[in-house]
């Protein structure tokens, strides 16, 4: 479905990554694969370092840390927050919503909206759309959009397809009205019939966690995984991205009359370097325009990946310039989305470490 939003803008981006860094070279000793093959995988996929939370650290901890940083540095005032959107698939609790917990921990005002949306990899674009819709309400002038996940908790240490690439992080993005007559175009698609390609089978109410769901099973490709763990059908996801994402982006550009050359950057969700290179090749976009290095430094951090690209690859540029970008988020659902907008100048655009 096509969307058009008027007079909205992103004014600040902060990404919070855990201090704790793991390296593929050390972790590959856990896998049931010969070292040479693992190193090949590292080369092709672009695995290297990733950031992972310590046990006991949750989404609300990362978010509270980031927001306190913004309050302390004068970038944001508590009372300015009219809505807190928290997009996650790894909430602190089933009950209550994590946005309420953050609101309580930070003593934010009662006259605000707290909303938890369940989404992962496509969650930044979806969250932006939600923020834009909220800003059309008179009483909402500033939306804090949070994307956050601690999916490393659900990665089987014996699953080479998942374990080395998952990273944890939170992003805090301020979204406000734009005094200029700006236009943002987006497209969003869903296909629930393929939902099983990216799932955590147990843990919810369909199949609660038990002793059985924690047992590692040989899933047939030398990897071991439990029903409590994150499952990704790698081939299906690769095909999904290659088939659905280019037409979505190209359709969006065609509808808006914007050529690929006129787009400065394609800022995509970062599943791994390999997939992004293939996507760039398919779309005939130079690698430099489609940054793909987030995974090798931070891991695939779910809905935070696009804000991480923004803060990592365009750190200083966006403080001074405005660029035209096309965002693309795709993943769990299955969901795929694209958004064309101008980005910058931002009043802050940084990555900080959670201690």
């Amino acid at each position: 479905m096509n969307f058009t939003f008027h007079r909205k803008r992103i004014t600040g981006v902060l990404v919070v990554v855990p201090e704790n860094e793991r390296s593929f070279a050390e972790e590959m000793k856990n896998f049931n694969f010969p070292e040479a093959r693992s190193l090949k995988l590292k080369e092709v996929m672009g695995f290297d370092k990733r950031r992972v939370v310590e046990p006991g650290v949750c989404v609300s901890d990362l978010v509270v840390f980031g927001l306190e940083h913004l309050f302390d540095s004068g970038r944001l005032k508590r009372d300015e927050i009219d809505a807190l959107l928290l997009v996650t698939q790894t909430p602190d609790h089933f009950v209550p919503p994590t946005s309420n917990i953050v609101q309580g921990r930070l003593r934010l005002k009662p006259d605000m909206l707290c909303l938890d949306l369940s989404q992962a990899c496509a969650g930044f674009v979806l969250g932006l759309m939600q923020a834009f819709m909220l800003l059309d309400q008179e009483s909402i002038r500033k939306v804090v959009l949070v994307n956050a996940d601690v999916l490393s908790r659900k990665a089987s240490p014996k699953d080479r397809n998942i374990y080395p690439l998952i990273g944890d992080a939170a992003s805090i993005v301020i979204v406000e009205r734009d005094p200029e007559d700006s236009v943002i175009h987006a497209d969003l698609k869903m296909d629930g019939s393929r939902a099983g390609a990216l799932t955590i089978p147990a843990g919810g109410l369909r199949q609660p966690s038990t002793f059985e769901t924690a047992i590692l099973e040989d899933v047939g490709d030398n990897n071991l995984r439990a029903k409590d763990h994150l499952f990704m059908d790698g081939a299906a996801i690769f095909n999904f991205v290659q088939t659905e994402v280019p037409p979505l982006i190209e359709g969006l550009l065609a509808r808006t009359g914007v050529s690929k050359d006129a787009v400065d950057y394609f800022l995509c969700h970062q599943p791994n370097r390999f997939m992004l290179q293939k996507l760039a090749e398919k779309m005939k976009v130079p690698y430099a325009k489609m940054p793909n290095s987030v995974v090798e430094h931070f891991g695939n951090n779910s809905g935070v990946s696009i804000p991480t690209v923004i803060a990592y690859n365009l750190a200083t540029r966006l403080l001074q310039e405005r660029v035209r970008v096309c965002l693309a988020g795709f993943g769990a659902g299955l969901t795929w989305s694209a958004m064309l907008l101008n980005l910058g100048t931002l009043s802050f655009n940084a990555i900080i470490e959670y201690k």
């Binding site: 989404v59 698939q89 209550p96 059309d136 955590i200 919810g204 609660p208």
Partner: protein
């Protein structure tokens, strides 16, 4: 947060309850209650019966069934669905979102927005707000709001304090645009500093599920509870409800220019009849205008109590009339939300029993 939404209406409501009904009189021996204590409890909370879903039935199954009924009887067509909003605190999975799973089971096209919102007691009203926001997108035809919870799975069946008051249910509401302005006045407030008053401590990411968290602990004589169960501070919730909801109702009535007399029905979330009677008294609302029978008939089913309240108590008058209603949902979060609007006519407004398969 105060807002006014215009040109929106609810056009159909179907609530779905498990057909398995259990009566307090049959259940109380399992609670280790003496007949006298049981009698006292039953009287105080006006307990009678509740509906409990079998183990294999989830919130999404109840909602899906309701949606299938609306599609089958022609009230709704697949191509009219622009968005599926699923509000629950008992989702099928952590990943993917349950709304996507329902999307796949119904077989909807790619141009349908699927959103999962985590909320409980205030969840029907929050879901309505979400639907109103989505309907500002002119290309979006109708929004299907699904509320569903199986809170019975988040407690021990012998927990005499919680279990008899709890019910499982799902609801489907169709929301669309209308010609009339029909302004809808909303006030939303949150106080997360008191979030522990209604909490499931373990099972998600703060404290993952483990052999420890499944263990039952005795919290009061004969009352067993694990860390994966709902922990409710009854007294804190009572005080919160009595302190926070009446002022918000007054505020919202002032906002909409209404008085107690101009409102036909006060359709509140139903935690239990005891607290609702207290509230009606405190707010000087005549008891006939504030139905409080849902817990006695179905149990407290989280956000579904409001749609059940509408269907149980107002279906007849709403068939061909419009009524001025004041909704209020309060609880988990802690969140409290009051909404004043014209409701109806609602030609489709019913409660059905869930049929599997």
């Amino acid at each position: 947060m105060k807002s006014i939404f215009k040109h929106k209406k609810i056009s159909a409501i179907v609530s779905v309850v498990p057909k398995e009904e259990y009566r307090f009189d049959d259940e109380y021996p399992a609670f280790k209650l003496s007949p006298e204590k049981a009698k006292r409890f039953k009287k105080m909370m006006s307990l009678d019966r509740h509906r409990i879903a079998p183990p294999e039935v989830c919130s999404s199954d109840l909602c899906l069934y309701g949606l299938q009924q609306l599609l089958k009887d022609g009230t709704l067509k697949k191509e009219e669905i622009g968005a599926l909003v699923f509000v629950s605190q008992t989702p099928d999975y952590f990943m993917p979102p349950t709304s996507n799973v329902i999307h796949g089971k119904i077989g909807l096209g790619p141009d349908v927005i699927c959103l999962d919102i985590n909320q409980g007691c205030a969840g029907f009203l929050l879901g309505l707000v979400q639907a109103f926001l989505l309907l500002e997108i002119s290309a979006l035809p109708k929004v299907v709001l699904l509320n569903g919870d199986t809170c019975s799975k988040q407690m021990d069946k012998c927990n005499r304090i919680s279990y008899p008051l709890t019910g499982d249910a799902g609801s489907v509401a169709v929301i669309e645009r209308c010609e009339d302005e029909n302004p809808i006045y909303v006030d939303i407030k949150n106080d997360g500093s008191r979030y522990k008053a209604i909490l499931v401590p373990a099972g998600a990411y703060r404290t993952p599920a483990s052999p420890e968290t499944i263990k039952l602990n005795e919290v009061e004589e004969g009352v067993m509870q694990s860390e994966q169960h709902i922990h409710m501070d009854g007294a804190a919730i009572f005080n919160f409800t009595m302190d926070s909801v009446p002022p918000q109702v007054d505020e919202t009535l002032a906002f909409s220019g209404d008085t107690r007399d101009s409102i036909d029905w006060f359709l509140f979330h139903q935690p239990n009849p005891f607290i609702l009677t207290q509230m009606a008294e405190k707010m000087k609302i005549p008891a006939e205008k504030l139905p409080n029978n849902i817990v006695s008939l179905y149990g407290n089913c989280s956000s579904v109590t409001i749609p059940l309240n509408i269907a149980q108590n107002c279906a007849e008058p709403l068939k061909d009339k419009s009524l001025r209603v004041c909704f209020s949902g309060f609880g988990v979060g802690l969140t409290w939300l009051t909404m004043v609007m014209n409701l109806g006519p609602l030609p489709v407004c019913k409660i059905v029993d869930y049929q599997a398969g």
